[in-house]
């Protein structure tokens, strides 16, 4: 349960699941029907990735572990997602920017992960890469559209940067388990920064120069939001233990 590979797989799975859960909150409430469908689609893709990772972790753990026991029966400090993905939707600007920051990261990560020694991880990453490249294109276009749209959309994008930028640093600081397995995330930081700078410039949004970067999620110390996410996510399983659905 505590070996680095297991922690690492759960970290990848948790990132995908928590962002899927957040994006899924938009379903039925999007700003226009086409985009309601698009964000739900991204939620579904991320959920699919999470399931692949959880299933793999469960198979390594044995002992009756399943994708559902891993997603539904771990508590807050056992979740290893980054703080970025658990941040609330707030509005379309924050949702889009969160997705853009994360997809840019995830694309660079999976690109390297598909060459990993671990064949199973490599296969999951390779399969997901096509989806992620769509998420990246979609969210990038929206970042530019909102940044360069109206005065209000511009203002909201600035607010979004202010809310989310502080959670981006953690993505590139390797956690203990990342020092032992998987992709060295410190090596994708420059590419991420360069790409994000280009897109933000096109959107007419300047990035803060000095921001204190919050950390902890990848080690299980989260923002207060995660508890509420898990309360909803896990409610039925906790209320009706030992049942199949």
């Amino acid at each position: 349960m505590n070996d680095p590979l297991n922690k690492y797989i759960l970290h990848l799975a948790d990132n995908a699941l928590i962002l899927a859960q957040r994006n899924g909150e938009w379903c039925g409430h999007g700003p226009i029907l086409e985009q309601d469908i698009a964000i739900t689609n991204i939620s579904l893709d991320l959920l699919g990735q999470a399931r692949n990772f959880y299933q793999y972790a469960a198979s390594l753990q044995g002992n009756d572990a399943t994708e559902d026991s891993l997603a539904y029966l771990r508590i807050e400090n056992e979740y290893r997602n980054g703080l970025l993905v658990e941040q609330p939707n707030i509005d379309w600007a924050q949702t889009i920017l969160r997705q853009y920051f994360f997809s840019t990261y995830q694309y660079l990560l999976y690109e390297k992960l598909q060459a990993a020694d671990d064949a199973q991880l490599a296969a999951i990453a390779a399969k997901a890469l096509k989806e992620v490249s769509y998420h990246l294109r979609w969210s990038r276009e929206w970042v530019i559209r909102l940044g360069d749209g109206t005065a209000e959309s511009h203002r909201r994008m600035i607010q979004a940067v202010d809310a989310l930028w502080r959670y981006t640093g953690e993505l590139f600081i390797p956690a203990d388990y990342e020092n032992q397995v998987g992709v060295d995330v410190s090596l994708i930081k420059d590419a991420w920064t360069e790409q994000v700078n280009v897109v933000m410039a096109e959107a007419g949004i300047s990035l803060p120069e000095k921001t204190y970067m919050q950390t902890g999620g990848k080690q299980g110390i989260h923002t207060e939001h995660l508890g509420y996410i898990l309360a909803e996510l896990q409610y039925v399983q906790r209320a009706y233990p030992n049942s199949s659905w």
Binding site: G28, P31, L33, D36, I37, R51, A71, D91, W245
Partner: protein, 315 residues
């Protein structure tokens, strides 16, 4: 050509099962009836996303969450096809949506009932999508071409939804006592409202005759309702649950199930806006529309800027 002749040609086409297409001449009332019905149908798909969307975050397994997300997303897609079909008759999606939000346009009353337990996700798929399918299978042959073609695509997905809903209930029906109770309780709540989905009795229905003559509809409300009862009364045996109707009984003479009387006061009350969730559903649609206004404005403004820079480059 005098209008009488046009009407005659129009009716002849209908009688010969030739589809009416957007550019064809059609009586104003035919156009209006179709706009009303198709837009109402589109609104139902979109409002219908709400009760089930409400359970996405709480789905009890990752597999069920994926199925539910995909299902609710399908309903959004159905809304899109149908808005497009209605637009071919000359009303814009914006106008249709503003009619929904002002309360002028209706949507299916079934979505004014709350989804209270996980079992409701099964019951809605099985009973509500099940009832919708019978109507929609008929509409695959409706006389207005774009509507009929939209329905063909939609029907394939709907029957999938119904099977998934039934399967979700089947798991509950074979589960713990608490799950069985949850399953039965949900069926109890959804059974009568789903019977109401077919609309008033034929003897009370105002639009039926003309719609049958124009082949917008091909079966009456009561015929479709009977078909539904016959189907569900058999399927429930597999679940080992019961339908909350003491009068439900096979009638050998009619070769149909007899069933009890619908509470028509409740039916009209919900239609008039007094269902348990009429206000919440409309408020949720209004909120999404209002909160999304700045996003749509930004997208338009950005698209306009792009066109301008293109034109400047071309000049």
């Amino acid at each position: 050509m005098p209008v009488q002749d046009l009407e005659k040609i129009f009716q002849e086409k209908i009688d010969q099962e030739i589809k009416i297409e957007p550019r064809d001449w059609m009586p104003e009332a035919y156009r209006k009836t179709n706009i009303r019905q198709i837009s109402q149908h589109a609104h139902s798909e979109v409002v219908g996303m709400l009760p089930e969307g409400n359970w996405i975050s709480r789905a009890p397994s990752l597999k069920r969450k994926a199925i539910l997300l995909a299902k609710v997303q399908d309903e959004g897609g159905h809304g899109l096809y149908l808005y497009s079909a209605a637009e071919t008759l000359g009303m814009s999606r914006d106008e249709m949506i503003s009619d929904l939000l002002s309360g002028k346009a209706k949507y299916s009353s079934i979505f004014n009932y709350p989804a209270l337990t996980w079992a409701d996700m099964g019951a809605v798929g099985w009973l509500v999508d099940g009832a919708a399918i019978l109507n929609q299978v008929m509409l695959c042959r409706t006389s207005y071409g774009p509507y009929a073609r939209a329905m063909v695509r939609i029907c394939k997905e709907e029957s999938f939804h119904q099977r998934q809903g039934f399967e979700a209930l089947l798991v509950l029906s074979r589960g713990t006592d608490a799950q069985k109770a949850m399953c039965q309780e949900s069926i109890n709540r959804w059974w009568w409202p789903s019977l109401m989905m077919f609309g008033p009795k034929d003897s009370e229905s105002t639009n039926s005759d003309q719609s049958m003559k124009w082949k917008i509809k091909r079966k009456t409300n009561d015929e479709l309702r009977q078909q539904f009862v016959d189907m569900i009364a058999e399927q429930i045996k597999v679940l080992g649950m019961r339908l909350p109707d003491d009068q439900l009984k096979w009638n050998e003479e009619r070769k149909h199930y007899d069933f009890g009387e619908i509470n028509w006061d409740e039916f009209w009350n919900v239609v008039k806006g007094n269902g348990p969730c009429n206000k919440q559903r409309l408020d949720a649609r209004k909120k999404a529309h209002d909160d999304g206004a700045w996003v749509r404005a930004a997208a338009l403004a950005y698209a306009a800027k792009k066109i301008n820079t293109k034109n400047e480059k071309a000049a």
